[in-house]
Symmetry: C2
Subunit: 221 residues, 2 copies
DNA sequence: ACCTGAACACCGTTCAAGT
DNA sequence: ACCTGAACACCGTTCAAGT
């Protein structure tokens, strides 16, 4: 989101002394950042390689030193997205004393907000790129980071007796599907108009979790 | 899915006598079909207008007689997809005597299977096109057909006492989000490997509905 | 090692003609 | 009314050079 104009002074990072490709500072990361901002501003269709290179201040050809093709750049952007999403989820779990209900609600809110803040990125992350598992193993593993977070929350809730016993995988998948579906439908403006505003979304998330808990709750409360 | 080669005899449909644009038979529909098959075979990236025209047997320029631009063709394809999905859901509801549980399970299976059979189309339908509501009002209304079906099932279940009382909208949204999220995650191969095969998907759908029903069920059984 | 300019095939779109 | 061929700007990718 910061301006990307001419950087007057040459950047002298510590990395520049470590044999990694530099010359431009760190072109690989500069290209990823340029791609992210283009994606946010113009959507997936507006993200073309030559424009990315232009924005990064290099010739339309320089990206091929760092990415085999356009898809490889898209993969790098998606991978960064998965990591960012998982990181935000992790940050939201700072307080382990919270109840499972609170933790699930917080995670759902974080997930939905991430989608609403980066709709084009979110679509790109789930646009079929991950299907090429073998070609992009690090993308594949990054795409599983969020699920891991959810799994831990559910397991913790189970061990505390707040969630019903049994395999943690299935309730986690149900929760993930629910939150992912809500996020995507919100991004696409598919939900009725009366839940478009932020306050309603907040309320909606709470209602979703309540409904879900009555399903996976231990029925003890 | 049928072959699209040279059609030796000129088609003489009843429509051809009704003043609609023909000359080619029905170019507009031919273009939509060609686009659908291209989308299925090569994905969204492989769907370019010139290739669509080639496959329909006309010059690269002919499509502009029927669609303002490429996006308009994409919109038509997405709209057909929404209608097809809603139609399949409707067909699956033929037997109104089924319990709410059975109906919801069936709908979920139909939705998931539609996604698995047409993954690229499904992604295209939810790729942000609907956001241009005012430009494409018929796409917008088609995108709401499925929700309408779900709403009816939930309302029916409520009136029979099989689902808990209250506003039908919220439980319907929860159900839709759940099924939509499951479908998209399955398409993206984001779920653990042990549920990739069809039999497991079938079981998974049933488990999802069970979990959800314990949330929106009337707690009488 | 990294970057550049020219070049190629191809796409979306427009325009002046053709029937 | 509908279709065509030529043309334009632009993109992804490759290649031969430059430092």
């Amino acid at each position: 989101m910061e301006e990307m104009g001419q950087d007057p002074a040459k950047v002298e990072t510590a990395q520049a002394k470590q044999g990694k490709p530099y010359h431009h500072g760190d072109l690989r990361n500069a290209l990823i950042k340029a791609g992210q901002s283009l994606l946010a501003e113009e959507g997936l269709a507006g993200l073309d390689l030559r424009k990315v290179a232009r924005r990064a201040g290099v010739s339309h050809n320089a990206p091929y030193r760092h990415f085999a093709d356009k898809q490889a750049l898209l993969v790098a952007i998606a991978e960064a997205g998965f990591k960012e999403l998982a990181g935000q989820i992790q940050q939201s779990r700072q307080n382990p004393d919270n109840t499972a209900r609170t933790q699930l609600t917080t995670i759902a809110r974080v997930y939905v907000e991430f989608g609403q803040e980066h709709p084009a990125l979110m679509r790109e992350m789930f646009s079929g790129l991950v299907l090429e598992r073998k070609a992009y193993p690090s993308l594949y593993s990054a795409s599983k980071l969020a699920f891991q977070q959810l799994l831990e929350v559910v397991e913790q809730g189970q061990s505390r007796g707040e969630l019903s016993e049994g395999s943690a995988e299935r309730p986690t998948l149900v929760f993930w599907s629910l939150v992912h579906g809500l996020t995507m439908l919100l991004i696409e403006n598919q939900l009725p108009d009366n839940i478009s505003n932020p306050a309603s979304v907040e309320r909606l998330v709470e209602e979703y979790v309540t409904t879900l808990l009555q399903g996976i709750g231990s029925h003890r409360s």
